[in-house]
Symmetry: C2
Subunit: 241 residues, 2 copies
C-alpha cells in the first residue's frame, strides 16, 4: 500500500484505491483500525485534507466508518446485506431513470429474475412466508389505498416471495431488481379493475406456492408479467392522447 503515487490522477482517488485494495485482498480485516489521518498523510506524503477526501470516498461506499474521540479513527466496516441492498437499489433506480430504459425491458428483466427463485421457494417456503404474502394481499384488496401504497405492497409481496427461497445472496440480488422497478411502477395509475386483476394473479401465485407447484407458480408469474406490460402500454397510450 506504499508504492509511489502518480501525479496524473487525483491523489485522493489513488489513496482511496490503495486502501480499498488493501481491504478487498484482506490485508485490512473487518473492524481493524486504520492509521490516523495524520499518519496516513505522512505515510502517503500528502496533506490531511487530501487523506480526508480519500476516506470520505471510502465512507460513501460503506467500506469504512469513522469515530471521533480518543480511541476514534477509521475502521473497516463489515458490509451488511442491508447496506449493500440499499446501495444497489439507489444505483439501479438511477440507472433506469437516467438511461430511459423501456418499461418493457425493465419489466422483462424483473420477472425473468424472479423466475430464478421459483424452485427454491417452492421447496423451502414456510408458513410465515405464506403469511407475509397473505398480509400484503389483504392490503391490496383495500380499495381505499393510494396507487403508491398499492405499488409498495406489490413490491413487498414479491420480496416476501423471494425471501421464501431462503437464500440471502439471492434475496440481496433480487431485492435490487424488484425495488428499483418501483418508481417506474408508480407512474402507472391503477384502476379498480386492474387492481382486481393483479390481485387475482397474486392470489394465484400464492396458492401455487402453498401447493409447492412450481409449474403453476411459473405460469402465474408469466401471466402477471404479461398483464403488467399490458396495462403499462394502456397507460402510455392514454397519456399520449
Amino acid at each position: 500500500m506504499k508504492t509511489n503515487l502518480t501525479p496524473k490522477r487525483e491523489l485522493s482517488a489513488q489513496i482511496a484505491d490503495r486502501i480499498r485494495a488493501a481491504i478487498i485482498d484482506g490485508a485490512l480485516k473487518v473492524d481493524s483500525r486504520l492509521p490516523s489521518e495524520a499518519e496516513l498523510a505522512e505515510s502517503f506524503g500528502v496533506s490531511r485534507p487530501t487523506v480526508r477526501e480519500a476516506l470520505k470516498r471510502l465512507a460513501a461506499k460503506n467500506l469504512i466508518r469513522t469515530q471521533r474521540g480518543a480511541t476514534g479513527g477509521a475502521f473497516v466496516n463489515r458490509m451488511t446485506y442491508r447496506e449493500a441492498r440499499d446501495d444497489q437499489v439507489t444505483t439501479s433506480t438511477l440507472l433506469l431513470s437516467m438511461n430511459d430504459v423501456s418499461f418493457e425491458a425493465a419489466c422483462e428483466a424483473r420477472f425473468a429474475l424472479e423466475v430464478s427463485c421459483i424452485a427454491l421457494a417452492c421447496a423451502r417456503r414456510e408458513d410465515e412466508d405464506l403469511a407475509a404474502m397473505e398480509a400484503e394481499l389483504v392490503r391490496q384488496a383495500d380499495e381505499t389505498i393510494t396507487d403508491e401504497a398499492f405499488c409498495a405492497s406489490d413490491v413487498a409481496f414479491h420480496r416476501a416471495f423471494v425471501d421464501a427461497a431462503k437464500n440471502p445472496v439471492l434475496s440481496y440480488q433480487l431485492a435490487g431488481a424488484v425495488e428499483a422497478m418501483q418508481p417506474l411502477m408508480n407512474l402507472i395509475t391503477y384502476t379498480g379493475r386492474s387492481r382486481a386483476r393483479i390481485l387475482r394473479r397474486h392470489r394465484r401465485l400464492l396458492t401455487a406456492l402453498t401447493a409447492r407447484d412450481t409449474a403453476a407458480v411459473h405460469d402465474a408469474l408469466d401471466d402477471l408479467a404479461a398483464y403488467t406490460v399490458k396495462i403499462a402500454g394502456e397507460v402510455e397510450a392514454a397519456k399520449a392522447r
Copy 2:
C-alpha cells in the same frame, strides 16, 4: 436543497445527501453543472474543504464527475451500465468475503439467477453470441493455462451466455452475481479431469443454446451447478486433510 443543516451529523454527509436527493428526484439533470465549490460553500454556510468532502462522496458513487479549468466544475454524471456493474461486482465480492457465505449458498444463487435468462437467450441468441462462447471453450481446452485463467474464461463464457438474452438490465444484474463468484471459484484447484468435465458441460450448454432448446439448456445448467458444488466439496475435503 437549502434547508438548515443540523449540527448532529457530519456536515459533508448532510450536504452530500442534499445534492444526491436533488439528483435522484430530477432537480439536477444529467450533465448539468453544479455551482462551483466556492458558491456551494457560501450557499450552505460551510467552508470549501467541507464542500469538497461532500463532492468526493458523490464522486465515489459515480453520481458526479469533476473537471478542472475555466469551464470546469462538478457535473451530474450519467450512470452507465458499466460503472453500475463494476460497482456491484466489488460490493458483492466484499459482501461474500466478509460474511463467510457458504460456497453452496453463493453457487446456488448464481446458477439460479442464470436460469432466468435461458428463455430469452434461446429466443434471441445470434451467431456472434455463439462465437464468443465458442472462443472461451477453445481457451478452456488449452491444458497449459493457469487455474485463474481457466476461472476467468469460465466467467467470460457465462457472461456471453447472459448477454445473449439481449436485455441490458438483465446483463447488468447478472454480471454482478456471476463475477462476484470468481474469487470463490479461484480457490478451487482444477485437475485435468475436472476441467475436462466442466468443458464437456459447457459444450453441452452451447449446443443446446445453438439449437434453441430451452429444456436442454436448463438441464446443462443444473448439471453444471451440481458438478461445481461437488468438486468444491472435494477440494474442501482435501484441504481438511
